[in-house]
């Protein structure tokens, strides 16, 4: 079946622009996670949804970052007034249940954001 998909795959933004990154999880998956992967680093947690509820947003680096999942399926990560330090790969993952410690998270290919 289809895996996690993300769009766009690549995004170039001028500093100060707003961007929106989309994630389509595996159909029926309850939990959805966003991670940020800087160049040469491991992914770092940003935020997490269970259905439409945002249960943890402790990893969002600033109030310029906002995520939503209004119908419990597709999610959008929005970055306002982009800065150069926002340049990274943004990864989305979904898992079937409540995102517990033994669940497997399935990752999308990521969106590579470059802020000039």
């Amino acid at each position: 079946g289809a895996g996690v998909s993300q769009s766009p795959r690549y995004k170039v933004a001028k500093r100060g622009q707003d961007v929106a990154l989309r994630c389509d999880p595996i159909s029926g998956h309850v939990s959805l996670f966003w991670y940020q992967q800087a160049l040469g680093q491991g992914p770092e947690f940003l935020t997490y949804f269970q259905n439409e509820a945002q249960l943890d947003k402790s990893g969002l680096p600033s109030d310029r970052f906002f995520a939503e999942r209004p119908e419990g399926s597709v999610s959008t990560l929005k970055i306002q007034r982009t800065q150069q330090e926002d340049s990274a790969v943004y990864l989305c993952a979904s898992s079937p249940g409540q995102g517990g410690p033994r669940e497997t998270q399935y990752f999308g290919p990521g969106t590579r954001l470059l802020v000039l």
Partner: protein, 114 residues
């Protein structure tokens, strides 16, 4: 707080020789541990996971890992490297208790020489 330390940022092996990628973890609870692989321009793929059943875990593509609580280690091994194994490998911990995001190590880049 939970964390993982990947002891080597880069490992280079010859094709057909064994692979060892080292990982130590820190966790207040009995953790779940994972190894993911990331090929260039591809998504992260799960290789294997430990969830407190057997301490020797077998994964895909001939990889396996052994959970050693006394050493707080979860090293990844493969008896014979293949050229297609060249990629970035991440050791990952998932803390216990409810809705828990993954905590990644910094990654180990594996190069395989013909």
């Amino acid at each position: 707080a939970q964390s993982v330390t990947q002891l080597d940022s880069h490992v280079s092996v010859s094709e057909g020789t064994p692979v060892l990628l080292r990982c130590n973890y820190s966790s207040s609870y009995s953790p779940s541990l994972f190894w993911y692989v990331q090929h260039p321009n591809k998504g992260l793929q799960l290789l294997l996971k430990y969830t407190s059943a057997a301490t020797l875990v077998k994964g895909i593509n001939g990889f396996e890992a052994e959970f050693k609580k006394s050493e707080t280690s979860f090293h990844l091994t493969k008896p014979s490297a293949h050229m297609s194994d060249a990629a970035e490998y991440f050791c990952v911990v998932s803390p216990r208790g409810g809705n828990t995001p993954l905590v990644f190590g910094k990654g180990t880049r594996l190069s395989v020489i013909a």
